[in-house]
Amino acid sequence: MGLLNISGKFKHRAEIRESKDEILIGEIVRAMAHMGHRADAFAADGETQRMRFRTRDGVLSYIHIALDRKTGEGRIASAVIGSKATLSVAGEVKNLLSDPDDVVHMWKTDFKNIAKLGMRGQVKVDHELNSIVGRTTDLVEIDKFVLEGDEGVQRLTEHLEERIGRVREALAPYRK
């Protein structure tokens, strides 16, 4: 494959400002790797970028992270309101569902959680197929985390650890 073929697949963003969400994605992948979680799925087209991580956690089978940039691609918008995005952290407990009685019990829990929104650190728990998913979403300022050297990496790591901890706590009762 020639390099121009590769270059043609990029979006040719004018400035690094327009790549801040990709920069944050990279930092998330690295921070998660340093926590021992390995990225094993990427969906990186469009405005929302999603990743899945395999864990060695006794509770969580997977961690899903989605970043959806809301503002800041233009020079003026970036200067006035910054680069804001929603950052969702979801934990997934995957059970084998080998016992029909377990499935019936899981369905009943869905109704208890339907009113929770999962915003600003609150964890919304749902059952989806054979998994239990706990999700929390924050509106974040990308500039807090990227191009800020070790301080930015530290802030990002702390944010992820804190959110993963909350999700893990909410899902622990469902791990068989």
Partner: protein, 190 residues
């Protein structure tokens, strides 16, 4: 024949599901190994001081672009998973093609491009073979790149338990970028 009890039937069903999971995990791990390598490539390249500025992935073809914030040097990687079939992966091991590019913004972009164009040879020699370093340019960003085609043995970097050998991968990425930097400077500096 006695009628099976509720728990016996549930046990038989559980066995069928567990056996299905074993096969599912075998196939899933075979298909996901390239994504694990992509994550590892991002990690070691960022650890070397770069930032990720582009990521495109369709599940099989993964294209990454990095930039060093201080000197604006860029690294591109195009990774394609070649063994997405369990039988093939068992037979030859997990393989991927990786095209690595190293580029820098060139002030005398036009002059360098003229020089590279004049070097067009017979057209008989095939490009894209392992170890052959070629040069190309992105006229929009005024970057000139040196690039090389490689075939990676993914099993070296991702173990059967899906553990990542970050140190080994980092040394391989660093060595490749180091070589490409030398080729680029040798070609573009007076």
């Amino acid at each position: 024949m006695a009628t099976p009890t509720d728990s016996q039937l549930d046990g038989v069903f559980a066995g069928l599901v567990q056996e299905s999971w074993r096969y599912h995990n075998l196939v899933d791990n075979t298909l996901r190994v390239d994504d694990l390598l992509v994550g590892a490539l991002i990690t070691v390249t960022l650890d070397a001081g770069n930032v990720l500025i582009d990521l495109t992935s369709d599940g099989t073809n993964h294209i990454l672009r990095f930039e060093e914030p201080e000197d604006r040097a860029r690294v591109t990687m195009a990774l394609t998973h070649l063994t997405r079939d369990v039988t093939m992966a068992k037979a030859v091991g997990q393989r991927a093609s990786l095209v690595v590019g190293y580029g820098e913004p060139i002030k005398s972009f036009g002059r360098v491009m003229d020089a590279l164009r004049k070097e067009t040879k017979s057209g008989y020699v095939a490009g894209g073979e392992p170890g052959i370093v070629t040069f190309d340019a992105d006229s929009e960003s005024q970057y000139v790149y040196a690039q090389v085609d490689l075939y990676l043995d993914i099993d070296q970097y991702v173990g059967e338990d899906l553990d990542i050998e970050y140190e080994l991968l980092s040394s391989h990425v660093s060595a490749t970028i180091h070589a490409l930097r030398k080729f680029l400077h040798g070609r573009t500096e007076d």
